[in-house]
Symmetry: C2
Subunit: 142 residues, 2 copies
């Protein structure tokens, strides 16, 4: 987890990733929608590309010069549960007016939530968990 | 989510919360186990208490003066899915030697993972989700 935090612990990186999950791909939109300054957005986008969470793709609209689009890689897309867990916690503890955004399941329209479950399919609450040393226990920085 | 990031976006805050989930309660142990300096640990612990994620409780061991223990509140404990989601992502993308810690379900011994599921009980992947405006859509800072 400590290594994961090295990649995503800045507030602005997570705000940019959230916009990427919402479908934003263009630099101007990232800066504007995430509410962070253009220089900071540019620095964070470059870091997210370097860390392999976003990939740059050239695109060109008619009559315009070639620009770059930023798209989530698999590595970036798999951070989605972290953002959903943060959203749920913020909605519950910090949003007196209710959730600003609701995630729903396209197939059935029901609200989507994050859950802890074991491989046998049981929901698992915090007080039902054991922590065990894993194979990488003694790796540096674990 | 932006408000949630205001509370927990620092690397050191998340490292201290992780130790709290592992059962750490004493100042000296937080500083030592999270690998951050004592002044930074003291500042983060004070902020986490102020934000209501940890609560201070006096305790006294025989022959010692009264000290303070830091315990997770409900608000703090409910951040656990965020940390599990970060751990899982880090294990998958950043831990070539395997997971340093494995979470298991006490009842059945199976590994525990984070999942997105809808209220109807279906597992929901990223490409099956819709985003809808919620009741707090126009709240400041949402």
């Amino acid at each position: 987890m400590a290594r994961a935090l090295d990649v995503v612990s800045s507030r602005s990186a997570l705000l940019i990733l959230r916009e990427a999950f919402y479908g934003t791909t263009r630099f101007d939109d990232f800066a504007q929608r995430s509410g962070i300054s253009e220089p900071v957005a540019a620095a964070r986008l470059a870091e997210l590309v370097e860390d392999g969470l976003l990939a740059k793709e050239p695109y060109r609209e008619p009559g315009q010069r070639t620009r770059l689009a930023y798209r989530l890689t698999d590595k970036g897309a798999e951070l989605f549960p972290v953002l959903v867990a943060l959203m749920e916690w913020g909605d519950r503890w910090l949003a007196p007016d209710g959730a600003p955004v609701v995630l729903t399941h396209q197939d059935c329209g029901e609200a989507v939530h994050i859950e802890l479950r074991c491989a046998a399919g049981h929901p698992a609450s915090l007080d039902e968990l054991d922590l065990e040393a894993g194979p990488g226990r003694h790796a540096a920085g674990a």
